[in-house]
């Protein structure tokens, strides 16, 4: 029997999901999960130890595993903690300060004390080179290779750089100078890790491209060593199969590609979670979804449209203000379009200047953690509120591994919230819970509205430690009629790794008026990108017939400052381009078509292998619903006795009417009075919101 293994490194735990081709059912022995404490000093240790532990426990040999897919936060953490290579930059003369000048914009107009992240390459480690290319790719100033060599020698010998970002103006339009510099650097200093902006991110907008390239260079040596250690360790354990690395776009990369482009690996864990939501949606024939993941410090959301997570080309890393867009370093690479909200179990509740309750974004973290952890936490957190509301069992936290101190929770909520606001204890706890629901709902509303996504007929998929506790409340506020609590929600990201296809995507800016574009030029530009996007997959020995190709263009009206992305049908003719644009434009902007020339700016091609087979969970046993007890729980008016179920006892077809508390190891599903939940054929819990207003 051939197995596949997904390994996702998170902040606290490294998660493992092992499946074979018959579906993921723990009872049937076709699916196994494992959690190992993450080892921040060397994350590969937890990966290797956990792999060995998991296989040993199930009497398996690593030789039986044909494929390992790995997701990691290593690259993100290296940027946040500034633990990367000593990095230099070579750029066009006259433009060495682009990294300091940023976008010349404030991300918050009311905060005079706002701060920006320092560039990864300080000013003294930047060299300027005589050369200049224009927007159309023509060269005005030829490259002064000798001068460049002197600048590089200085950076290596005086500044002792270990990695180099080569970022020239309009390098996306004509990469010749960047390539020549790259070759020179490789010949002169073979140990130097070199990243070219024309390879990492061949798109216009110099600040974003330069920054992305510096992130790539900064993290490359560290990530390369990490992957090498991991591959060697797995080999020693007897692994002879294929190894892939998850990217932020929801596709996987070969280790060779991941080494070249670590900037594409930022935030791969949440991407995998969203991919798993999309997978569940497809299995359930529900293609419009809100993926809602809530953990200890943050909540994350993604929209699934037509069965696939919505993607964008922009994200930020290392924000100075956790949840303020514009306060971080921009990374231009394909990425699943995630919402991030500073609300999780550890989020701290307080009274704000308005005399109302505010929760987050500050978090008590794992240490001291919520007051109920009994580790000395003096702040009222969301977990404390959920405990006081009766949603969590003080004796069954993390499957009983930890007991919670309810009296401590009551104390902090009384002192910090109830007393100053003159509320009852229950009302104060309810307020904390509700404010978080409202914050999450608001973030989804705005995100969906900006993307023209109508969520009212869609379903929500909820996971993470706190997601199932809050999903019904959030769904009600949004008017979403259905919430899915998927089977194996505790390892959504690790499983999502196994549901993601090998993918590579190339986006390149080349601005041209549609009227000036010939059929040959159009086909030729796309064909060149296709070849680039396909290369890593062909190297991984994927059959050409198994590849699917997705072509998209950023287009706009001449004179308008923003582009919209249009998808091209497979056999598109250039004559159809204007009409395709108009249809997209009308869909995005309502009406108001204009009589202005059309421009193509950025060309994108994504090549994917066939998504791996991941059978849905095999059916669990049929059975009646028998509560294991009852607990007093609060749903806004008074405490009521709510039956408590163990999720693994619930057989297919079981229907439970709220109020009900359904416990699993990592979380508890909260079903309020009037709502109803049913176990479906795969073992998912499907809740219908009966009380929807």
């Amino acid at each position: 029997m051939a197995y596949r293994l997904g390994i996702d490194i998170g902040g606290t735990f490294t998660d493992f999901a092992l499946v074979n081709s018959t579906g993921f059912n723990e009872d049937a022995g076709t699916f196994a999960i494992h959690k190992q404490l993450t080892t921040p000093d060397d994350p590969s240790r937890a990966v290797l130890e956990g792999t060995a532990n998991l296989l040993r426990r199930h009497g398996l040999d690593l030789g039986a595993v044909v494929e390992i897919v790995h997701g990691t936060t290593l690259v993100t953490n290296a940027v946040i903690e500034r633990k990367g290579a000593r990095t230099g930059l070579l750029t066009t003369r006259g433009f060495g300060d682009i990294l300091d000048m940023r976008q010349e914009k404030r991300y918050d107009v009311f905060d005079l004390r706002l701060v920006f992240p320092d560039p990864l390459v300080p000013r003294r480690r930047r060299g300027e080179v005589d050369e200049r290319c224009h927007y159309d790719g023509t060269i005005e100033v030829p490259l002064d290779l000798a001068g460049a060599r002197a600048a590089l020698d200085h950076l290596v010998q005086e500044e002792r750089i270990e990695a180099l970002a080569i970022c020239l103006l309009h390098g996306y339009a004509n990469p010749a100078h960047e390539q020549a510099l790259g070759e020179m650097a490789a010949a002169a200093y073979p140990d130097l890790a070199v990243s070219l902006s024309s390879e990492v991110c061949p798109e216009w907008r110099e600040f974003e491209r330069f920054t992305t390239t510096t992130i790539n260079a900064f993290t490359q040596p560290m990530f390369d060593q990490y992957l090498r250690r991991l591959e060697m360790g797995l080999k020693e354990l007897g692994f002879g199969g294929q190894f892939f690395v998850m990217s932020s776009s929801g596709g996987t990369l070969t280790p060779e590609t991941a080494r070249r482009f670590p900037a594409r690996v930022i935030e791969s864990g949440p991407a995998a979670g969203a991919q798993m939501s999309a997978f569940h949606g497809r299995a359930l024939k529900r293609t419009e979804l809100l993926s809602f993941d809530m953990g200890g410090t943050t909540a994350k959301g993604a929209l699934i449209r037509g069965g696939a997570a919505i993607k964008v080309y922009h994200q930020e890393v290392a924000r100075m203000h956790d949840f303020k867009a514009g306060s971080g370093l921009p990374v231009k690479s394909p990425v699943i379009d995630m919402i991030e909200i500073g609300a999780g179990g550890g989020s701290i509740a307080g009274v704000d200047v308005r005399g109302t309750i505010r929760v987050g974004p500050n978090s008590a973290g794992a240490d001291p953690g919520p007051a109920c952890y009994g580790q000395g936490g003096g702040d009222a957190t969301l977990t404390d509120a959920n405990l006081v509301l009766g949603y969590l069992d003080p004796e069954f936290f993390l499957g009983g591994e930890m007991s919670l101190d309810r009296a401590a929770s009551e104390q902090v909520i009384r002192d910090n919230i109830a007393a100053p606001l003159k509320l009852s204890l229950a009302r104060a706890a309810w307020g904390i819970h509700e404010i978080v629901d409202e914050d999450v709902a608001r973030a989804f509303r705005i995100h969906a509205s900006e993307r023209g996504f109508d969520y009212r007929g869609s379903s929500m998929i909820a996971f993470g430690g706190s997601g199932p506790v809050h999903a019904m409340g959030v769904a009600r506020k949004l008017g979403i009629p259905r919430v899915i609590f998927p089977v194996a929600a505790g390892v959504m990201s690790a499983l999502g790794l196994l549901a993601s296809p090998l993918t590579f995507e190339v986006a390149r800016t080349r601005q041209i008026f549609v009227d000036d574009l010939t059929a040959e030029d159009f086909a030729g530009t796309l064909a060149a990108l296709e070849a680039d996007a396909m290369a890593p997959l062909l190297e991984a020995k994927v059959e050409t017939e198994a590849l699917s190709i997705n072509r998209r263009l950023d287009m706009r009206y001449h004179g308008q400052g923003h582009e919209i992305e249009v998808s091209l049908p497979p056999d598109v003719k250039i004559e159809a381009l204007a009409q395709i644009f108009r249809e997209h434009y009308a869909a995005v902007h309502g009406a108001a078509l204009l009589d202005a020339p059309l421009v193509v700016t950025t060309w994108k091609v994504e090549v994917s292998a066939t998504p791996p087979e991941l059978a849905s969970a095999a059916p669990t046993a049929q059975g009646e619903a028998a509560p294991k007890g009852t607990r007093q729980a609060y749903f806004g008016e008074d405490y009521v006795a709510a039956p408590v179920y163990d999720r693994q006892d619930l057989g297919i077809g079981v229907i439970i009417d709220g109020p009900a508390l359904i416990e699993e190891r990592e979380s508890t599903v909260i079903i309020g009075p009037g709502d109803r939940v049913q176990v479906d054929e795969f073992g998912n819990l499907i809740a219908e919101l009966v009380r929807l207003s």
């Binding site: 600040f207 005399g355 003159k422 509700e434 608001r442 900006e450 308008q560």
Partner: protein, 543 residues
């Protein structure tokens, strides 16, 4: 109805979320870049009494607190009892709206169970309004384009085609202008549905008690912060560059207990250029600046402005009267912020920012090498002013906020070439905290055609002022082919000509002698300060 902290918090957040969601509709459905990228727009939700309950979180400062006054002007023309569902009322009058005719104010009454429960107002900066176009060139308001009195664009859901035709006939790019006008109409319609849905969801008959609660709490919070300021009479007077010589702006601020008054007596009179500032704009800039100093985290509503009274002598630059032109009112209006900050420096020195280098806007008009017309604005920022214990950020604008057009996009759109763009060392004012650096940008006309540039630069004769002993920032300068030119002129660039924009540095804060040695050494190592500058400004010789 009794509302406890939980109910108020949730419903308040929801109203703010509704205003934000209407803004996203507005952004998505409008044509112009100025709306979608600069957020030169706002959405305001007012209760049946015309009190502001909530306003979109993201909008430029100039729209703070204008909507209630605009609504009163509209209701004076069309009394509330005469309004019917489906009515939409508009105006772009600078004195009834937001200070210049580019801003269209669109209002819709919200009916629930047969009576008005709220008003939604949506405002955006239109791409064009006829006249001379965007700039300061007008001598009187009649040069600046089409001035719409308060009028009904829709009557009980039926569009007044005459108004649409009138606008179409009077503006450049009519498709875009009407498209953006209709985006506002749609936004108010979306707002109406959301507000009535809100009442149904929470079982409320109207917004009266919720609005009162929101405003009351906001007023209390604002008063508490004002109380923390020392009582006193504070004064400031600054000189800025006018079109034909220096202009004086003056203000008196009285802080008494939990309230303050701000008056602009002593400010020079209006000029015959489109830089005069109607009072609504002056007041908005005061409210913005005070919000930065008091409760920046508080959502905007009518309560937080109650403790702040703003007055100005009629006819002065900051209370311009018709027919003074107002098109480029921001050129003077932006100085309200450093003016009132300077006055309060004595009261709350640790909160006040030294002057910013501010922003430079330069319009380029001509022809692209590919034959298409070019008409676009280049933004370049000076340095941000320093604060107590915090250096100013390099090339960061204040109080306005527009992003620079990336070089690679700019060159593609204009076929000009940016020869260099780099930070200017030593331009940030010295101080215990250093001002942010300004920059130099050199743009060469490679289009092959004559290109006209319209300059609107400030901070050329009067530098950004340091605070608490901090040094001034270096002033701004424009050069053409290395010859300094009038910073408010317009020029024709022949093919191959170069224009150089030298952007002002932010001012410093506190005595330079108090700057930590490590900070000076780091500035030297990074080249933000030259060795000569360190010796001159800090007496630092590396020993």
């Amino acid at each position: 109805m009794s509302l406890d902290a939980v109910s108020v918090g949730i419903m308040w957040d929801r109203l703010v979320a509704i205003s934000d969601e209407i803004v996203t509709t507005l952004v998505r459905t409008s044509f112009s870049t100025i709306v979608s990228e600069s957020y030169d727009l706002t959405v305001a939700l007012l209760d049946a009494d015309g009190q502001l309950m909530a306003q979109g979180t993201y909008s430029v400062p100039v729209f703070m607190g204008t909507a209630p006054a605009t609504l009163q002007h509209m209701l004076a023309r069309y009394p509330a009892e005469s309004l019917r569902p489906g009515d939409v009322i508009i105006t772009n009058d600078p004195w009834l709206g937001t200070g210049h005719m580019f801003d269209i104010n669109v209002m819709r009454p919200v009916f629930h169970d047969g009576r008005i429960v709220a008003y939604v107002i949506s405002i955006t900066h239109l791409p064009d309004i006829g006249g001379l176009g965007f700039g300061a060139a007008a001598r009187e308001i009649y040069h600046e384009g089409l001035r719409l009195p308060v009028c009904k664009l829709f009557e009980a859901g039926v569009q007044n085609d005459f108004i649409i035709e009138l606008m179409r006939t009077n503006v450049r790019a009519p498709d875009q202008v009407i498209g953006d006008l209709m985006a506002n109409v749609t936004a108010t319609k979306v707002g109406e549905a959301m507000l009535t849905g809100f009442l149904v969801e929470y079982g409320l008959a109207d917004f009266a008690s919720l609005s009162q609660e929101i405003r009351g709490r906001s007023e209390t919070a604002t008063r508490a912060r004002i109380s923390a300021m020392p009582d006193g009479s504070y004064h400031n007077e600054i000189q800025i560059e006018g079109v034909d010589g220096a202009l004086t702006l003056a203000c008196h601020i009285d802080v008494a207990g939990d309230a303050m008054t701000v008056d602009f007596a002593g400010t020079d009179g209006c000029v015959r250029q489109g830089i005069n500032v109607p009072f609504c704009y002056t007041r908005a800039m005061v409210l913005y600046s005070m919000k930065c100093l008091t409760v920046p985290e508080l959502p905007n509503n009518g309560g937080s402005v109650v403790p702040i009274t703003v007055t100005a002598p009629a006819g002065c630059l900051l209370d311009a009267q018709p027919p003074s032109p107002t098109g480029a009112r921001h050129m003077i209006g932006h100085f309200v912020s450093p003016l009132v900050f300077g006055a309060l420096a004595e009261a709350v020195p640790e909160q006040i920012q030294a002057d910013c280098g501010m922003m430079d806007l330069m319009t380029f008009q001509g022809r692209h090498r590919d034959g298409h017309d070019v008409s676009t604005i280049y933004f370049a920022s000076g340095g941000f002013g320093a604060l107590a214990g915090l250096d100013g950020a390099e090339t960061t604008p204040g109080p306005s906020n527009m992003a620079v057009v990336p070089i690679e996009v700019w060159e593609t759109l204009t076929s000009t070439t940016v020869e260099r763009k780099y930070l200017l060392p030593d331009t940030g004012g010295a101080g215990a905290s250093r001002g942010g650096l300004g920059q130099e940008v050199v743009i060469r006309n490679d289009s092959g055609h004559v290109m006209t540039v319209f300059c609107m630069a400030n901070r050329t004769d009067f530098p950004p002022l340091g605070l608490m002993g901090g040094g001034n920032g270096k002033p701004r300068e424009h050069r053409i082919n290395d010859v300094t030119v009038d910073p408010k002129g317009h020029y024709e660039l022949e093919p191959g000509d170069r224009i150089t924009m030298i952007e002002a540095g932010g001012a410093g804060y506190g005595d330079p002698a108090l700057r930590p040695r490590e900070a000076i050494e780091l500035d030297l190592a990074e080249g933000f300060v030259t060795p000569e500058g360190a010796a001159r400004d800090y007496g630092f010789n590396g020993e």
